[in-house]
Symmetry: C2
Subunit: 478 residues, 2 copies
């Protein structure tokens, strides 16, 4: 197992010298906050957490870490779902939450420059005021930070039309593990000068460098929106509907699927009746655009496509209230699953037309291993969150039981041409499964890249690339 130098009182004093006493956290319960994210109930304890305010402070912290051989785990809002922000080897947690300024909204060039601690929803609101749109919208929108979104290449329901975080990152400023600061480009829509360091850093989960500033692309706000909900009495028909939408050559702004078990969980969570709660699957489809008449023409066309393929009904929302109502089932699922039991979320993705095979395969795995599962997600992207539930309160025992089932679920996805993570990242919770979907040559290339950036292995150790990590503390103390 990897090992790192201890955080001594001298190190703490040096950190205080860099960021000031107020921004060095050394004791519980504050410190425990920096040992959690939203991944299952995992819990670690860093030796110290530090909250720099500037790129220079980040650089000086990394120089200190490099000099002494300290583990550093960068952290945004701690809303990640793969343990990317967990300090699994203790050491220093470096929180970017104080670097939370929107530096510029450039309406001439449709770009924005932001610090990593800006909350995604705050940025979206700020640009919306100027008629602009920053589309990536993970479920944690209201609290997650752009820095974390970049680290994980975050997705969300609107990726199906607008792409992922990576598709909006034009350039970055970042700090190397040894403290060196660099930029990958500028406020440019086109720039092919050398290797694409920008895109290498996006999705690298803070293991190669720490992002301290990002230049992001914006697009004009689509001012009009329509939402449809279509229940189906068979998975296959729902799946055919996904393909039929693509074949209609209309690009939905969102295309979500909620399977029967997830519907049941939603009903229980919401404590009220839901239309077509006994459907085998429901499809939620959003259209948007800048021209209302054109949008309504597409809406009619999509509605017809869904009915023709066998939807039991097509419910339309044309007011914000009805829209919220149609989305309510899909949006409550994260909480609904959490309430049911302890769970592990498998963030599978497959080619979109393989979604029914994936859902069927997952049901077979569940039957074989005697586990409960709840599946839903971004059907248009083929990205299905499979939640494996367990009533066993003992984490180690349940991990042992669940692991073969989880691996079997990932194998179903990979056999369909899929991946073990569509949008959550690998972190420490999925790293042991990475080699299921990446061949040995690709794995070796990743290790070589990590060594090229971080030869001492100090930055976010235990993440992305498979490695042994210490066990979680017994129970998350929220």
């Amino acid at each position: 197992m990897l090992s790192f130098a201890d955080v001594t009182p001298e190190i703490v004093a040096a950190l205080q010298g860099i960021v000031g006493d107020d921004y060095v956290i050394r004791s519980d319960p504050e410190l425990l906050h920096y040992g959690r994210d939203e991944t299952e109930d995992l819990q670690y304890r860093p030796d110290v957490a530090v909250r720099p305010a500037t790129t220079d402070e980040v650089s000086r912290i990394m120089r200190l870490a490099d000099e002494h051989g300290l583990a550093v785990t960068p952290r945004g809002a701690g809303t990640g779902l793969s343990g990317g922000a967990l300090p699994v080897f203790g050491g220093i947690v470096l929180s970017v939450d104080r670097m939370n300024r929107i530096l510029e909204i450039d309406e001439n060039n449709l770009m924005t420059r932001v610090q990593p601690g800006v909350i995604t929803g705050v940025l979206q609101d700020a640009v919306a005021e100027k008629g602009l749109y920053y589309p990536p919208d993970p479920a944690s929108n209201g609290s997650c930070m752009i820095g974390g979104n970049i680290a994980e290449n975050s997705g969300g329901p609107h990726c199906v039309k607008y792409g992922l975080t990576k598709d909006y990152v034009l350039s970055l400023e970042a700090v190397m593990p040894n403290g060196d600061v660099f930029r990958t480009g500028g406020k440019l829509r086109k720039d092919v000068a050398g290797y694409n360091l920008t895109q290498l850093l996006v999705g690298s989960e803070g293991t190669l460098a720490i992002v301290t500033e990002a230049t992001l692309r914006l697009i004009p706000m689509p001012n009009f929106r329509r939402t449809l909900l279509a229940p189906f009495d068979s998975l296959d028909t729902a799946a055919k509907a996904i393909v039929a939408v693509y074949q209609s050559r209309i690009t939905p702004a969102a295309l979500e699927i909620v399977e029967q078990a997830a519907l049941a969980a939603a009903v229980e969570h919401l404590g009220r009746d839901v239309p077509y709660a006994d459907a085998e699957a429901q499809i939620l489809l959003e259209l948007d655009g800048t021209d209302e008449e054109a949008l309504d023409r597409d809406l009619m066309k999509v509605g017809e496509v869904l009915l023709e393929i066998g939807a039991l009904d097509v419910m339309l929302a044309d007011t914000p209230a009805k829209e919220r109502e149609l989305w309510s089932v899909r949006k409550c699922l994260g909480e609904a699953v959490k309430k049911q039991a302890a769970y592990v979320e498998c963030d599978t993705a497959v080619p979109p037309d393989k979604v029914p095979d994936l859902l069927r395969g997952v049901r077979e795995v569940a039957a074989k291993y005697g586990i409960r599962q709840i599946s839903y997600g971004h059907a248009g992207d083929g990205n299905i969150h499979v939640n494996v539930l367990t009533d066993n309160p003992d984490r180690e025992a349940r991990e042992k039981t669940l692991r073969p089932a989880i691996e079997a679920i990932f194998q179903v996805a990979v056999d369909l041409g899929g991946t073990i993570t569509g949008e959550h990242g690998v972190g420490c919770s999925q790293s042991r499964y990475l080699s299921l979907c990446r061949d040995p040559v690709a794995m070796a290339a990743m290790v070589a890249i990590k060594n090229a950036f971080d030869p001492k292995g100090l930055l976010n150790p235990g993440k992305v690339l498979p490695s042994e990590v210490p066990p979680s503390l017994p129970v998350a103390t929220v």
Copy 2:
């Protein structure tokens, strides 16, 4: 300077054993063909050119090269503009032109799988037949290959709305410099399993690995299109128009600018009169969409924006013939410049609202150094091709004269927050300028990445990263 092992008769025999006698080229004039691309009049001579038909053959060639320490230069159609395909150290040219099959057009998932030797225009036609669109459209569309487009992250006029090649590459199969074959992912719209090797390879100009298959994203074909041409009597007004279009929140499908000197060159080349040939600049704007009425509403709005800002006129094309007519000036410029004199093309890019400052700065440099220049390009992307002309037939002498002017032009772009190449790539012709727009830390990271993939430095040596390369042969023998 780098040095490599010789291509001995035994190596040639081994290559013949891998691909067959017919596909090993050893003598002029065929061999000279593999020593040129479209970059100025540069000319090198490889020792041998080899045309594999399969990934396995590419792998075996690379194993041979790795074993013997041979330089290998991968090649698509040889239409590049930065010398990316030039075998500057001789050795082996590896042409992918026989790997030219469209393996699959997947209408369910809106994706295609192709070999690297597929001609971009051929792919576009094939998917258009199914109502689908592959947008990246470099000027050499009719002859360039997808493999080269991926190597250079090629652009084109429609990037302003649809993005570059990188935005369409979902995953790759590639061969490492040592012959190992790997895949970076699958037919997936979302996949964050590990570092983004796909995006690291796109734009790496064949220096890290050889792409042998690509999975590309497609979008529904926008069936309707309108083209506008607006002349301006001042650069500043034309520039204001670019910003005003962005501020109108309409996204053009193309937004090109042609400056006075380029207009004059076009008139001379076309040998006929051109409307508003004496304008200080002309802007060519294309709109497209899937709804004709919405499109025409946008068209009216954009036309008004252009007139309000001070366009001398707004000419509209609503038939394919008129459209070709409006595009004729812009499209002939490559040839028109070529006919004028020997030239060096600086592929500058700046934030779009800095285009007028760039054009003014370039004029100042031209005056200071006594050079002629012709500028035009993708204004909406801030990507301006500055052609520096010279009447000196002696390449070495003219390089000496021109180099300070070229460096000054790049410096103007960089000072405006720009880059030395927006879409042509670095290759060998711009590598000496790379450090103008990339800081030493970023440069060191790129060197480390190259060493991680290609420790022996065999793959496309002398490209991207600054290094001394042998001089070109005296004159290109076309």
